[in-house]
C-alpha cells in the first residue's frame, strides 16, 4: 500500500451545506449542516446524513431528487467530490459552502440520479471503461462475483482502503505506474494506455492571484475530456505530467510530441483526417489554424488537491493519485487568447 494512496483515501473536504432559501418553511432558518465529505466520494452519498438535518424545515409533500449547487451552479453528481472542489474552487474555500435542494431537479443540465444505485453503477461503468483502456477488454470487471462487486463498492463507500486493495487486485488493472517502480527509478516506462478524465477550464484574461480568478458559473465553460493518455516508452526519457496533459489536448498543443496515437501509424501524417477531396467539406484537418500553441499557457494543474510540478513522471502521478475507479482526474486551467 502506498502512502500517497492512503492520503488520497483519507482526503476530505469540510462542507457547510445550506438549505436553499426557497425551500425553507420554518423560522428561524435551519442552521447549515457541517459534513466532512471524502474526496473520493460522491455528493448523493451524503444525502442520508443531510436529510435528517433539514427534515423539519422542508415543505410537506414527497421530495424530488436531491441536488446541490455551488454559487448557483448545479453540481454534477457523478464527478468525485474532490474533483468538483479542485475544479470549482480555484482558491480553496474551507468550509466549502454548498446549497442543497430537495425540489426542482434541473434535469436539462443534470443526468437523473436515483440515489446510491445510480452512483454505484456510474462507478462500475467507469471501472469497466478503465479496465478496457488498460487491458483491452473488461472481462475481469464483468466476471467479478456478486459478493466481490458488493464489497468493492462498500470499500469505496466506507473509505476502506485495505478492503479495496484486496478486491481490486483481483481485477489485474496494474498500470504503467507499476512498471515505473519496478524499473528501479530509471524512468523507463512501458507502452500503455492510462484512463484519464480531464476537466479543462479556459480563461481568456490573465490573473496573477487565484483569488482574482473568474467564477465558473456555467458548465459550458468547462471542457470535459475523456481520452486515454497513450504512453510510448522511450529509452532514457521519462514521460512527464506535462507530456500527458499536452498529448490529450491536441486542439491546444498540436502534434509536437511523438506520443500521439496516430503518429505511430504508417499513414502519411498530412492525410490524417481527410480521406478524400470531398471529405474536406466535413472534416477539418489542420489544427494549427485554431490556436498557435505558443499562446496557450497551462496556468494550473490540480490533482487530488495538489498542484504537482509539470515535469514529474506521469507514471508516479498515475500510481499515486488515481481514484478508485482507476481514472486519474486532472483539473486544468488554460489561458487561451481570445479568438478573433
Amino acid at each position: 500500500m502506498e502512502e500517497a494512496q492512503k492520503y488520497v483515501w483519507e482526503g476530505a473536504i469540510p462542507l457547510q451545506i445550506h438549505l436553499h432559501e426557497s425551500e425553507v418553511t420554518t423560522l428561524p432558518t435551519p442552521p447549515p449542516a457541517l459534513i466532512l465529505a471524502p474526496r473520493i466520494g460522491y455528493l448523493p452519498l451524503l444525502i442520508p446524513q443531510i436529510k435528517p438535518h433539514f427534515s423539519n424545515a422542508l415543505p410537506p409533500g414527497s421530495p424530488d431528487t436531491v441536488w446541490f449547487d455551488y454559487n448557483g451552479l448545479p453540481l454534477k453528481w457523478y464527478i468525485p467530490t474532490g474533483v468538483l472542489f479542485d475544479l470549482l474552487c480555484a482558491e480553496p474555500e474551507r468550509p466549502w459552502n454548498l446549497t442543497v435542494h430537495f425540489r426542482g431537479y434541473p434535469s436539462n443540465i443534470l443526468v437523473p440520479c436515483e440515489g446510491e444505485d445510480s452512483v454505484k453503477w456510474s462507478f462500475i461503468n467507469s471501472l469497466k471503461e478503465a479496465a478496457y483502456i488498460i487491458n483491452g477488454n473488461c472481462k475481469n470487471v464483468m466476471n467479478m462475483s456478486q459478493p466481490d462487486q458488493v464489497e468493492l463498492w462498500r470499500s469505496v463507500l466506507n473509505g476502506n482502503l485495505e478492503a479495496y486493495v484486496r478486491i481490486s487486485s483481483k481485477l489485474r488493472l496494474g498500470t504503467v505506474g507499476d512498471e515505473y517502480a519496478d524499473g528501479g527509478g530509471q524512468g523507463q516506462v512501458k507502452t500503455g494506455r492510462v484512463p484519464v478524465r480531464l476537466y479543462v477550464w479556459s480563461v481568456s484574461e490573465d490573473f496573477d492571484d487565484l483569488e482574482d480568478a473568474p467564477q465558473i458559473d456555467s458548465w459550458d465553460k468547462i471542457s470535459y475530456i475523456n481520452r486515454p493518455v497513450e504512453i510510448h516508452g522511450e529509452e532514457g526519457n521519462y514521460f512527464t505530467l506535462q507530456d500527458a496533459v499536452k498529448s490529450i489536448l491536441p486542439e491546444y498543443f498540436p502534434n509536437k510530441s511523438s506520443t500521439k496515437e496516430e503518429s505511430s501509424r504508417d499513414e502519411d501524417e498530412n492525410e490524417q483526417t481527410v480521406p478524400s477531396e470531398e471529405g474536406e467539406k466535413y472534416l477539418s484537418e489542420n489544427v494549427d489554424t485554431c490556436y498557435p500553441s505558443d499562446n496557450v499557457e497551462i496556468k494550473l494543474v490540480r490533482i487530488q488537491g495538489i498542484e504537482p510540478k509539470m515535469d514529474i513522471p506521469f507514471s508516479w502521478v498515475v500510481k499515486n493519485l488515481t481514484n478508485p475507479e482507476h481514472y486519474l482526474h486532472i483539473c486544468v486551467c488554460l489561458k487561451v487568447p481570445q479568438v478573433l
Binding site: V111, Y132, E278
Partner: protein, 220 residues
C-alpha cells in the same frame, strides 16, 4: 489500413473520421431522398461527430414502431426543440408522433462509435424515458429490463454538455469482430474501414428501431 484494430473490431479516431466521411458520402448518394447525415465539428474543429436529427417515429398498428425518414426538406428544425415553430411540423396524429435526434460519437476509451439519442414530441417537449421505452422494439425492452444500468443510460453528451441517452459501448468491439470475421472476403479486401459505420449502424440501429435503407446494406 488499421489491420490490427480491424481484427479487434475497433477503430482509431482517425479511422472514425475516414469512416464517417465515407458514410456521409455514401448515404447522401445512395439515399438522396432521405435527410442527410451531417458532420458536426467540435472541440475547436479537431473532433466531430455524425448527426441525423429530426427523424420521425410513427407508431403503427404493428407490434413495434420503426423510425422512418420524412422526405428531405419537408421540415427541418435544427434549433433546440423548445423553439420549434409549430407550423413546420406534420400534424397527422400529434400525440403519436415522436422525433428522434441521433448522434454517432467516437469513444476514445472503447475505440468504437457510440450512439447517443434524444427524443421529443411534436410540441418539442423532451420525452420521458418510459415514453421512449414504449417506442423501442420488443427485444430492446427485454435487454433494458435485464440490464437497466448497462444497456441504455442517460449520460452527458460529450460535446453538448447535456443529458442524452446513450447505448453502452462495452460490447461493441466484440460483435463488430464477429461481423467482420463472418465474412472472410470482407476482411481480405480491406474495405472494412469505409464500411465500418454501415455495418455498425445496421446492428446498433435496430436497438432504437432504425433500419438502414436497403441500398446501403447492399454494399456490405
Amino acid at each position: 489500413m488499421g489491420t490490427k484494430e480491424e481484427a479487434q473490431g475497433t477503430l482509431s479516431s482517425t479511422d472514425f473520421g475516414v469512416a464517417a466521411s465515407a458514410f456521409i458520402l455514401n448515404w447522401n448518394t445512395v439515399c438522396s431522398s432521405f435527410p442527410p447525415w451531417t458532420w458536426v465539428l467540435s472541440h475547436h474543429q479537431v473532433e466531430g461527430y455524425l448527426s441525423l436529427e429530426n427523424v420521425l417515429l410513427s407508431s403503427t398498428q404493428e407490434e413495434h414502431s420503426e423510425l422512418s425518414f420524412p422526405e428531405a426538406g419537408k421540415h427541418s428544425h435544427q434549433e433546440d426543440p423548445i423553439d420549434v415553430d409549430d407550423a413546420t411540423l406534420v400534424h397527422t396524429n400529434p400525440c403519436k408522433v415522436h422525433y428522434y435526434d441521433l448522434h454517432i460519437i467516437y469513444c476514445n476509451s472503447y475505440r468504437v462509435p457510440v450512439l447517443y439519442f434524444r427524443a421529443y414530441d411534436s410540441d418539442g417537449e423532451p420525452l420521458e424515458f418510459d415514453e421512449i421505452e414504449k417506442d423501442l422494439p420488443a427485444y430492446s425492452k427485454k435487454a433494458l429490463s435485464d440490464s437497466k444500468w448497462t444497456f441504455i443510460t442517460q449520460e452527458e453528451h460529450p460535446y453538448l454538455n447535456r443529458p442524452w441517452y446513450k447505448l453502452h459501448p462495452c460490447g461493441t468491439s466484440e460483435w463488430m469482430k464477429l461481423l467482420f470475421h463472418a465474412d472472410d472476403a470482407l476482411a481480405k479486401t480491406g474495405v472494412a474501414i469505409e464500411l465500418y459505420l454501415v455495418a455498425w449502424l445496421s446492428v446498433v440501429g435496430h436497438v432504437v428501431g432504425l433500419r438502414i435503407p436497403f441500398e446501403m446494406m447492399k454494399q456490405l
